[in-house]
């Protein structure tokens, strides 16, 4: 059976061109970039070239790019790097984020709370957009950093980053954005966005797992999470991961080149999928914002059925998706993102996320819809919840 991978929000395969470009750096151009000989120098020069390419794409300076070991690490570095600056001085302070962030942000915030920092978790509206007046009011004199994601990984909602940056900068505060999901499809011009720090994730942009970038304006000092041999200007030690860095540059280059066209293509496909689901399956709810939405994201709740069941039956048909149901996670609570947008537990349990990708075709979407049109009614037939829903609403 052919696999229809509609889970690009979880991770992406490495692009052929990206793998090809970076492959020589495993066993041929393998020198330690810090070594003082030609074998090291050659690696160093390639890393410098990669950094230059990326800086151009991000519209920033080379020294503003820190290579890390994942999106999660970049986020931790941005937040803890600021918090620990204060801690070593014996001081504390205040952070702001919002409720639909990825666990990489939320768990990090929870931890710095344990250290004595205060954190405000802003609410979002029913589309998942942060409330700007709430943000404005939340900023305090001792606010050290605001971290608000660019686009949400579950419902695809795109935040008004420029406006957010403006509000934060009017109060003279710093702004980090988690752009893990946005990188492939939206502008990552840091100057235009007005961000002070931004996280990029290799594993979401057809590049390597275990690779990430933290863009950080050069006037910002961060306490490193990883101390050692002073690589990345001392902000992130450890021998440079040359293949992963070369891969990141190539992946960003390709994504930048194809962004506009791919965004248009996927937006059409996404809208087509949403429309067909809405038209051909009764009692569904599209989660998130239909307009301010990642072009590859379809998140839908099916009344009266539970997400894991749908997921596994789709899986049996070769279709890979994900769900906000508690049943496929470690916790017993359904998606904190869906709940934050005001969804009932019931509908959160019944949600499925499809995230399309560069190889996704209309045919695959049609196949998926056709399978959904069998799976959902069947699960509703055996569901103890369906009859009431069907008749009530």
């Amino acid at each position: 059976m052919k696999t229809i991978y509609l889970d690009h929000g979880s991770t992406t395969p490495v692009r052929k061109e990206v793998l090809k470009e970076s492959l020589p750096y495993f066993s041929k151009i393998y020198g330690n970039p810090s070594s003082f000989h030609t074998t090291g120098l050659i690696a160093k020069k390639e890393i410098n070239k990669a950094r230059k390419k990326i800086a151009k794409i991000l519209n920033c300076e080379e020294e503003e790019i820190i290579f890390t070991g994942s999106g999660t690490e970049s986020i931790n570095l941005a937040i803890k790097g600021i918090a620990l600056n204060e801690l070593v001085k014996g001081k504390k302070g205040h952070f702001i984020t919002q409720k639909t962030e990825h666990d990489a942000v939320l768990e990090t915030m929870k931890w710095i709370e344990k250290l004595g920092f205060e954190v405000t978790y802003l609410n979002v509206d029913e589309k998942g957009i942060v409330k700007l007046d709430e943000l404005k009011n939340a900023i305090r004199d001792d606010t050290l950093l605001v971290s608000i994601m660019y686009a949400n990984n579950e419902i695809g909602t795109i935040q008004p980053i420029k406006k957010i940056a403006q509000i934060i900068h009017e109060k003279g505060k710093l702004f980090h954005t988690d752009a893990c999901q946005a990188t492939e499809y939206l502008s990552i011009n840091t100057k235009k966005l007005g961000v002070d720090m931004m996280t990029i994730n290799g594993s979401k942009i057809y590049s390597y797992k275990g690779s990430g970038i933290l863009f950080k304006k050069k006037n910002i000092k961060l306490t490193p999470l990883i101390h050692g041999g002073h690589q990345e200007r001392g902000t992130r030690s450890g021998t440079e991961n040359t293949p992963a860095i070369i891969a990141l540059a190539k992946a960003l280059e390709i994504s930048e080149k194809e962004k506009k066209k791919e965004n248009e293509r996927l937006t059409k496909l996404r809208n087509y999928m949403i429309k067909r689901i809405e038209n051909e399956i009764e009692k569904v709810k599209i989660n998130g914002d239909k307009k301010n939405r990642l072009p590859n994201n379809v998140n839908v709740s099916f009344y009266g059925v539970e997400g894991e069941s749908i997921l596994l039956r789709l899986n049996e048909e070769g279709i890979r998706a994900s769900t906000g149901s508690a049943c496929s996670s470690q916790s017993l609570e359904p998606s904190h993102v869906l709940l934050a947008t005001g969804l009932t537990h019931e509908l959160a349990h019944g949600s499925i996320r499809f995230t399309l990708g560069k190889n996704t075709t209309k045919k695959e979407i049609d196949y998926t819809i056709n399978k959904l049109k069998k799976i959902i009614p069947f699960l509703r037939t055996i569901s103890s919840a369906w009859k009431k829903i069907k008749t009530k609403r």
Binding site: E306, S309, L312, S325, C327, S328, L332, S384
Partner: protein
């Protein structure tokens, strides 16, 4: 979710019952053939189960069910239905002794995290038996 080392997320038996559930209520008209009914769980927790039993001479001779829930919830209800009816029915006394663990064993095990939340079947059954006994008293 902890994986059990097989090629699917759950055991073969869970997969079988999840993909081809047995004895669920296909048609509302069937309800009238049953003389005991139980319902447990709720939508908020992601698991809700209804259970109908047909008792004759203190023996459960047929059952139906409906479940809103994940694969293991569906499979465990289906398995319970099978266990109750496979040998031409089960004595109420014996049915009352069935536990989640019994169902789980027959399913070839479940991931740890699933055990407490998805096996509502035995509880729904107990509710159904209770309901049957009350019906007997009242009617």
């Amino acid at each position: 979710m902890k994986l059990e080392g097989n090629d699917w997320f759950y055991s073969k038996e869970v997969k079988k019952h999840f993909m081809k559930p047995q004895k669920f209520l296909k048609n509302e008209n069937e309800i009238k053939n049953f003389n005991g009914y139980g319902k447990v769980g709720n939508m908020k927790c992601g698991d809700m189960m209804e259970f109908w039993i047909k008792v004759k001479n203190d023996k459960i001779i047929d059952v139906r069910w409906k479940t809103f829930g994940c694969a293991s919830a569906i499979a465990s209800t289906s398995m319970l239905a099978k266990m109750l009816t496979e040998k031409k029915g089960m004595k109420i006394e014996k049915a009352l002794t069935l536990t989640g663990t019994d169902i789980m064993k027959r399913l070839g095990g479940l991931p740890k995290i699933k055990i407490h939340c998805s096996i509502l079947g035995d509880q729904a059954l107990r509710e159904a038996i209770k309901n049957y006994l009350e019906n007997q008293k009242n009617g």
